[in-house]
């Protein structure tokens, strides 16, 4: 769509004016864009957070390597530690003495832990290393390698539980992705549909313009400007709503419900990502939707 500056000014003026002239048609399409993008935005916010929470759950997966109790504690510890450090993909290594082990063990049982008091005299637990893999999904693999290290008597990678966990998290991720993509497409469809109908109602005008000698570009430009503005304003509204809503929700969950363990993503980088996505979709569809719809009527 090549164009000179003077004409561009005219088209921007006309496109903007047309927004006001169409009055409630503009309101209808802007609000359709806004509400559709609001759904997309809210869902994205939700999906980003779910992904975050799921990741932190996955991150809890680790390999426990129990050392041979029949060997000298220090020899075993030093050898295994050295071997572990040689392995690829290890993020963190923590040594847990059998005393600490018992404490954790009792803590896990809560009130019932007292029942284990009798064990203190005769701590049968081994020393252990807790190893965290760089990528949680590699934990199982890492566990197999650790198993072969000398003095390591037994490992525990969570086994079936971990497998189930990963199955669930990958399902959650897949469902989320399907929802996001599905919503994205429906948003695109709904918005371009609305814009199409709006322009449809102006078919007559487009025909007249053509009959008076307007080129396709000349007709297209104001619609292009109009579509861009509709897309842009239609994206700004949900961004503002999400910005305010999310900040409020965060306060509410943490302060009112005291759900500190529900670790929401911080507002700042999140809202930026969401804004970019929404404005991207809004502009893209505003522009594309209006151009596509106008094209339909330019063949006269």
């Amino acid at each position: 769509m090549p164009i000179n500056k003077q004409a561009l000014g005219r088209h921007i003026r006309e496109g903007t004016r047309s927004l006001f002239r169409n009055g409630w048609m503009t309101v209808a399409s802007v609000s359709a864009v806004a509400i559709t993008l609001l759904i997309v935005g809210v869902f994205l916010t939700f999906a980003f957070n779910v992904n975050h929470i799921v990741s932190s759950i996955e991150n809890d997966v680790e390999v426990k390597a129990y050392l041979d109790v029949t060997v000298d504690r220090n020899t075993a510890k030093q050898h295994v530690e050295a071997e572990l450090k040689k392995l690829d993909g290890v993020e963190q290594i923590t040594f847990i003495t059998k005393e600490e082990g018992l404490k954790n063990f009792k803590a896990k049982f809560g009130e019932k832990g007292d029942l284990l008091n009798s064990l203190e005299k005769d701590n049968f637990l081994p020393d252990s290393f807790v190893v965290k893999a760089e990528t949680p999904q590699k934990t199982e693999e890492l566990g197999q390698k650790i198993k072969t290290i000398k003095y390591v008597k037994k490992i525990n990678t969570g086994g079936d539980t971990t497998k189930k966990l990963f199955a669930v998290t990958s399902l959650v991720r897949t469902v989320g992705l399907v929802f996001v993509i599905g919503l994205g497409f429906t948003a695109i469809f709904l918005i371009s549909n609305t814009i199409k109908i709006t322009i449809m109602a102006r078919q007559n005008e487009i025909e007249i313009m053509k009959l008076v000698g307007a080129t396709n570009n000349f007709i297209r430009w104001p619609f292009f400007v109009e579509g861009t503005l509709i897309g842009f304003v239609g994206a700004l509204i949900p961004i503002l709503i999400i910005l305010v809503g999310y900040a409020y929700l965060q306060r509410y969950i943490q302060v009112q419900l005291s759900l500190y363990f529900l670790d929401l993503l911080p507002l700042y980088p999140l809202i930026l990502q969401i804004s970019l996505i929404l404005i991207g979709i809004g502009l893209f569809i505003g522009v594309w939707g209006s151009l596509i719809s106008v094209r339909r009527f330019l063949r006269i």
Binding site: N4, Q6, R10, M209, K210, V212, T215, N216, F218, I300
Partner: protein
């Protein structure tokens, strides 16, 4: 200007193979009963309808084989007064007329003076800010005339430009057409107005049932078309 032209729309034959040549600077009346094919003849000239057979040449354009993208340039050289006015409903009178100039990227200052001048000529300068829906039928028709004339095209085609006008206003408009014709513009006008045709003698092409039944240089409206 034309050679063999003919059209044929969704089944009904509106024009049978006709042959007409209109020279530059001519003033031609197109007459004939309702449904004779006058508007169809006119629509072929500015390519609202495409000829289904034959060849049409206007202002150096091969109208019948014009590509989509070249059509606007044909139309810019022709000022058309449509039978149903075809005003843009959301634009004011001024903007409607100005549109024909904006399309050819005229300077805004120039647009303003030219539009007001032509609105003055058709007697609507005081309605410049009205929307078409706020005008009487005759006023709308005069806006359509103003738009056709504003960019001084070399060919003006008018489809019953006086159908909604009283005799006095009609005469004013006819004088306008006569004047621009005097200045070298070709005028083709479909009309039912017997008085006008008979008083301002010009070439008359009479249609009936899609055929040309008469073509006289200083013709009358006539009875047997």
């Amino acid at each position: 200007m034309q050679n063999v032209g003919k059209t044929y729309a969704n089944g009904t034959v509106a024009l049978h193979a006709i042959n007409v040549e209109i020279g530059a600077g001519e003033f031609v009346y197109v007459v004939g009963p309702s449904g004779a094919g006058k508007s169809t003849f006119i629509k072929l000239m500015y390519r609202e309808e495409k000829a289904s057979l034959g060849e049409i040449f206007i202002n150096g354009f091969h109208v019948h084989q014009l590509q989509e993208k070249d059509i606007p340039f044909l139309r810019r050289g022709i000022g058309v007064v449509f039978q149903d006015f075809k005003l843009l409903p959301r634009l004011t009178v001024f903007e409607n007329v100005a549109f024909a100039l904006e399309v050819i990227e005229t300077d805004p200052q120039e647009i303003k003076s030219k539009v007001m001048e032509v609105l003055e000529l058709v007697g609507l300068a005081n309605k410049a800010r009205n929307l078409p829906s706020q005008l009487s039928g005759g006023e709308q028709q005069r806006v359509a005339v103003a738009r056709a004339l504003v960019n001084r095209p070399s060919l003006v085609i008018a489809d019953e430009p006086t159908g909604n006008l009283d005799p006095d206003t009609s005469d004013d408009i006819m004088n306008l057409f006569a004047e621009i014709n005097q200045n070298g513009t070709t005028v083709v006008m479909a009309t039912h107005n017997k008085e006008i045709v008979n008083s301002m003698k010009n070439r008359v092409i009479a249609f009936e049932g899609g055929h040309i039944v008469r073509d006289e240089l200083k013709g009358e409206y006539g009875y047997a078309y």
